[in-house]
């Protein structure tokens, strides 16, 4: 039982990092990415690759993964953010689909469809984290760090610039803000922190394959952010916890066809997104409704 709970908490924390980093661009910069799972995947595959071919050291594998994710996101964001918001949605959807193909085909790096097996436990200063609760501590520390970084950023001039762009792009332009650069920077920051979650995931599972990095994951994380509440610190974490607990809770309802739990879960959060947008666009954690036509 404790093993079950431990596992759940680690996974919730990893997903909370994902939703927090996605919230940074959705909730503060007003950028909609359908490619979050791509950067999660880059983080996971890169960490796995480094761990298996170079060193399982946390402080080597994770930074390399973060840099790689940052570079990829830069290549996507710089051109796509020059133009209207819809372009980024389209380009990120395209990237997500392309990435799934790449992840399944590039056998040397990702192991193809079969994935990567036998990723060694992560080491911190030569100390291998083999016990689940070691890993729990590492994950919680990382989550706290990510929250702290984002919380800090939001309250700087950079954070204000982001919010001003979210609220009115044209007024931000008229105030002399180079919105392409600011938005791109936010995507790059968010993606590199996402890769951290990917690295944690790879080390924790010791096995990864493309299933975890498909569009469905991007959609799940987006649902976490939106249902929890965009533009708040707590919202995405609440959203991550809720949606991660949902499958477990559903399996208690014995009248539901157990083979369809996955679909039922998606139907629930799909409907929740629709109803929230009609009745409470700010999500669960929100003082008041958010947003207005810019």
């Amino acid at each position: 039982m404790t093993a079950y709970i431990l596992n759940l908490v680690v996974l919730i924390s990893i997903y909370a990092i994902l939703s927090t980093t996605l919230n940074f661009i959705i909730g503060y910069a007003g950028i909609f990415s359908l490619a979050h799972a791509v950067f999660f995947g880059i983080g996971a595959y890169t960490s796995a690759f480094v761990a298996m071919n170079l060193t399982p050291s946390f402080f080597v594998a994770i930074p390399i993964a973060m840099v790689l994710a940052a570079l990829t996101s830069l290549a996507l964001a710089l051109p796509a953010l020059r133009v209207r918001g819809e372009y980024f949605v389209a380009a990120s959807l395209g990237l997500q689909m392309l990435a799934v193909t790449l992840f399944s085909e590039w056998k040397g790096f990702t192991g193809g469809i079969g994935g990567v097996i036998g990723i060694p436990p992560v080491e911190i200063f030569g100390f291998a984290l083999v016990k689940p609760w070691h890993f729990l501590i590492l994950t919680l520390v990382c989550l706290a760090l990510v929250i702290a970084i984002i919380q800090r950023l939001v309250h700087t001039s950079f954070g204000r610039s982001l919010k001003s762009i979210r609220d009115s792009e044209s007024a931000a332009l008229a105030a002399g803000k180079n919105i392409t650069v600011i938005k791109t920077l936010s995507v790059v920051l968010s993606s590199s922190l996402t890769a951290l979650a990917g690295g944690l995931y790879a080390f924790y599972m010791a096995f990864i394959n493309v299933e975890s990095f498909m569009l469905a994951t991007s959609v799940l994380v987006m649902a976490m952010v939106i249902i929890g509440g965009t533009g708040t610190i707590l919202g995405p974490i609440v959203g991550a916890a809720l949606l991660m607990l949902l499958p477990g809770a559903l399996s208690y309802l014995s009248f539901l066809p157990q083979t369809e739990i996955g679909s039922i879960q998606q139907i629930i959060y799909g409907s929740a997104m629709v109803l929230l947008m009609i009745y409470r666009p700010g999500g669960i954690v929100s003082p008041k409704t958010r947003g207005e036509a810019a």
């Binding site: 819809e86 409907s271 947008m277 207005e292």
Partner: protein
């Protein structure tokens, strides 16, 4: 011969992409609603057609009618009961996109639960290919797809150019102020846009169901194509979206000469990205307004 074969396939796929993209572009252009659930409309139409023929054993004309009815109904209901309430209180890109996306997830999974998640395809007598020239297999569907697209485009063109409602729709995409002079309410026009835009996916849904087949997740692919074509063609230009859809269909198929089918989405992405970098306003784009 292979190349000719691929070009013909490209023509078929391109023709139906063109229709789907034109539908999305029409809705987006005139109502400014980012109708991400356009892919769901496609899925519904395709599965209704499949259901009518395979499960009910109906004649294909009835199948087409069911698919069209379902698509139009779905579009209009969404407009009335989802987009309208959202737009009444805010209607930002954020809320519209998320709701539209959410309904897409619901449709995908409901269909998955009802019909299963595996690939389906409807076989009709037309699906069978005939050897037109040595080594050149052509199914009558190719000609039919191209023909249907042409007919649809002519019909849409006539509607937009020569009917009162059509002119009002065009005016709506150019300039909201102008619409008032047509004496039609924006809500009514919005319903027209959704009906017309949604019905345009029907031929595409039916041809896809009868040729390459589909699964419940096809909506995402349809959206990628529609979005890419809308951008490549130039936002707000229906003609542009249609040309871009054709281009993407061609590129996807002709490229099979060199690469495997799994790369078709990568190619769509490449075309899209090329335009985003080098010509963000698209084929027929007007000056981007910020």
């Amino acid at each position: 011969m292979l190349l000719l074969q691929l070009i013909l396939n490209g023509l078929q796929v391109g023709a139906i992409y063109a229709l789907t993209a034109a539908g999305f572009s029409l809705i987006f252009g005139s109502t400014k609603i980012f109708h991400f659930a356009h892919g769901a409309t496609f899925t519904i139409a395709a599965y209704l057609f499949h259901y009518a023929l395979t499960n009910l054993g109906l004649h294909w004309t009835l199948g087409v009618a069911m698919a069209a009815g379902g698509a139009v109904l779905f579009g209009i209901l969404l407009d009335r009961f989802m987009y309208a309430p959202i737009q009444r209180h805010e209607g930002s890109f954020f809320t519209v996109f998320v709701a539209s996306f959410g309904i897409g997830i619901v449709v995908e999974n409901v269909i998955g639960m009802v019909f299963g998640r595996s690939f389906i395809s409807v076989s009709t007598s037309l699906s069978r290919s005939v050897e037109l020239l040595p080594d050149l297999y052509v199914s009558p569907l190719v000609g039919l797809a191209v023909l249907t697209s042409l007919v649809c485009f002519v019909a849409v063109h006539m509607f937009l150019m020569h009917t009162h409602a059509g002119m009002a729709l065009r005016a709506l995409s150019e300039n909201t102020e102008l619409v008032k002079t047509f004496g039609l309410s924006p809500r009514r026009l919005s319903a027209y846009a959704f009906a017309l835009g949604s019905v345009l996916v029907v031929p595409a849904a039916i041809f896809t169901a009868s040729s390459s087949g589909l699964n419940p997740a096809v909506g995402h692919h349809v959206m990628l194509i529609s979005l890419a074509a809308t951008i490549v063609g130039g936002i707000g230009s229906i003609r542009g979206a249609a040309f871009a859809g054709l281009l993407i269909g061609m590129v996807e198929n002709v490229a099979l000469w060199q690469v495997g089918t799994q790369w078709s989405e990568a190619l769509t992405f490449a075309v899209l990205f090329f335009f985003i970098i080098f010509r963000p306003s698209g084929f027929f784009g007007r000056a981007a307004v910020s």
